[in-house]
C-alpha cells in the first residue's frame, strides 16, 4: 500500500516541480535585459568620459570597449546569460588612482542613467547593492 502511494505521489510531485518556474526572473531580465543595459551603459560611460570631474581616467581609452565590458559585467552580476571577457577590476584600475569622489560621481551618474532608462527603484537599488562593494577594487587613489 505504501509503495503504491509512493508510486502514485512521486510522479505527481515530479510533475509539480517541473511545472513550477525553475527560478524567479533574474535581475537582468527584470531590468529589461540587453536593450536597457545598453542604453544605461551608453549614457553612463559617455557622461563619465565627458564630465570634467570624472573624465581623467577615460583619456585615451576606447569607450566602445569600456561599454562592451561594462555591459558584460552588469549582465553577469545581474544573473544574465553572459560571460565577462574583460580583465579583473583591480587590474583595469591599477595605476589610475581613482578617488572616492570620482567613484561617488560615477554611482550618481549610474543612478540617473537607470532612472532615465525607466528601470524601477527595486531593480535600481538591487543593482547598486551588487556594484557597491566594487568600490574597494576601483578606488585606489
Amino acid at each position: 500500500m505504501q509503495r503504491l502511494l509512493t508510486a502514485a505521489i512521486l510522479p505527481l510531485l515530479l510533475a509539480a516541480c517541473t511545472a513550477m518556474p525553475t527560478a524567479t526572473p533574474t535581475l537582468y531580465s527584470r531590468m529589461g535585459g540587453e536593450p536597457v543595459v545598453r542604453q544605461v551603459v551608453e549614457e553612463l560611460v559617455d557622461r563619465t568620459a565627458q564630465d570634467p570631474r570624472t573624465s581623467r581616467s577615460f583619456k585615451d581609452v576606447k569607450l566602445a570597449r569600456v561599454k562592451e565590458k561594462l555591459r558584460e559585467q552588469i549582465c553577469v552580476l545581474a544573473g544574465g546569460a553572459c560571460v565577462y571577457t574583460g580583465d579583473p577590476m583591480t587590474e583595469v584600475h591599477r595605476g589610475l588612482k581613482n578617488t572616492e569622489a570620482e567613484f561617488a560621481l560615477l554611482v550618481q551618474f549610474l543612478r540617473e542613467a537607470l532612472d532615465h532608462a525607466g528601470v524601477a527603484d527595486r531593480e535600481k537599488n538591487e543593482l547598486l547593492r551588487l556594484l557597491a562593494p566594487m568600490k574597494r577594487e576601483i578606488v585606489t587613489g
Binding site: A101, V107, E123, N125, A132, P133
Partner: protein
C-alpha cells in the same frame, strides 16, 4: 568654552574660502540633529556631516525650530566634515519656557567632535559591518541659575557616544533602508538644558538611541527616532523622547526635515508633543 567656539568659527571661516566641496551621494551626510551632529532629529549617526569624500572637506549649517505644548526650542549651528573621517560641530540652543515662567529662556552651547573609526555605511553592501563612529559633545549652559535651581549638579558636562549606521540597498520592498544605533554615556537632564546630574543619579550612564528609516526615493527619507534619557532629578521626572520624521533632499545643497515629536515630560509638564522643522544648507 568661549575659546572653543571662537576656534570653531575661525576654522569654518578659513575653510569657507578654500576647499569646501563634496561629491558623496545625496543624503549620505544625513541632517543635523538637535545637538548639531550629523544624524536625524534627535539622534547622532555614524555618518560624517556634509558630502566630503576622503580627499574633500564638506560642511553644513542648520536652523531648527521645535514647538511642543508648553515650550519652544530654537537651535542653529554648523558642522564641518574632514575627509569623511572627522566631524566638528557647533550648536546654540535657545529653550523658551516663557509659558511656564514668564520671560524665562535657557541657552546652551554644544561643541561636538565625531570620528569615524570603522566601516562604510553605504558601500559595504556585502558585509554586515556598519559604519561606526565615536563622538563627544561638550555642553555648556550660558547661565547656571536654572540648572542649579532644579537640583542639577553642574551646568556644563560632556556626553560620549558610539554610533553604528548601516544602509541596506533594496532592504525592504526594494527600497533602501537605514538603521542606526547609538549608545550615549550621559548624565544630561533634558539634553543638558536643565544641567547635568541630580539628586537621584550623578553618574554617566549608557542610554540607547535608535533610528530606523526607509527611503521611498533617493531624495526622501521617512523614519523614526527613539532616545532614552537619564532621569536624575526627583523634582522633575524625565522620559524617553521620540519622533517621526520626513527628510527631503531637494538638491545636494539643501535638506528639509519635518517631524512630529513626543518629548515626554519636561520640567513637570507632561506629554510635550508637537512639531519639528529643520532647514539645512550643505556643501
Amino acid at each position: 568654552m568661549k575659546r572653543l567656539r571662537i576656534a570653531f568659527l575661525a576654522t569654518v571661516a578659513s575653510l569657507a574660502g578654500t576647499t569646501l566641496a563634496g561629491d558623496r551621494l545625496l543624503a549620505t551626510g544625513g541632517a543635523q540633529q538637535i545637538e548639531g551632529a550629523a544624524g536625524s532629529g534627535l539622534v547622532p549617526w555614524a555618518l560624517i556631516a556634509g558630502y566630503g569624500t576622503r580627499d574633500q572637506v564638506g560642511g553644513s549649517a542648520f536652523l531648527t525650530a521645535v514647538h511642543v505644548d508648553d515650550f519652544d526650542l530654537r537651535t542653529y549651528g554648523a558642522a564641518v566634515g574632514w575627509g569623511d573621517r572627522v566631524e566638528l560641530s557647533y550648536a546654540r540652543q535657545r529653550f523658551d519656557a516663557g509659558s511656564v515662567v514668564p520671560g524665562l529662556f535657557l541657552r546652551m552651547d554644544t561643541v561636538g567632535v565625531k570620528v569615524r573609526v570603522a566601516g562604510d555605511a553605504v558601500y559595504d553592501q556585502d558585509r554586515w559591518m556598519p559604519q561606526v563612529a565615536i563622538g563627544a559633545m561638550h555642553k555648556h549652559n550660558l547661565d547656571a541659575t536654572i540648572p542649579k535651581a532644579v537640583g542639577a549638579q553642574k551646568a556644563s558636562d560632556t556626553d560620549f557616544y558610539v554610533a553604528a549606521t548601516k544602509l541596506w540597498l533594496a532592504g525592504l520592498a526594494g527600497r533602501n533602508v537605514l538603521l542606526n544605533g547609538t549608545l550615549r554615556y550621559t548624565r544630561a537632564n533634558q539634553y543638558g538644558l536643565l544641567g547635568f546630574g541630580g539628586d537621584r543619579e550623578d553618574r554617566l550612564r549608557a542610554q540607547p538611541e535608535l533610528t530606523a528609516a526607509i527611503l521611498p526615493r533617493d531624495d526622501l527619507a521617512v523614519g523614526i527616532d527613539w532616545r532614552r534619557k537619564p532621569d536624575n532629578l526627583s523634582a522633575f521626572r524625565e522620559e524617553r523622547a521620540g519622533d517621526v520624521f520626513v527628510a527631503w533632499f531637494p538638491s545636494r545643497y539643501a535638506a528639509i526635515t519635518a517631524a512630529y515629536v513626543d518629548l515626554g515630560s519636561i520640567a513637570g509638564k507632561p506629554r510635550q508633543r508637537g512639531g519639528y522643522l529643520s532647514l539645512q544648507l550643505t556643501l
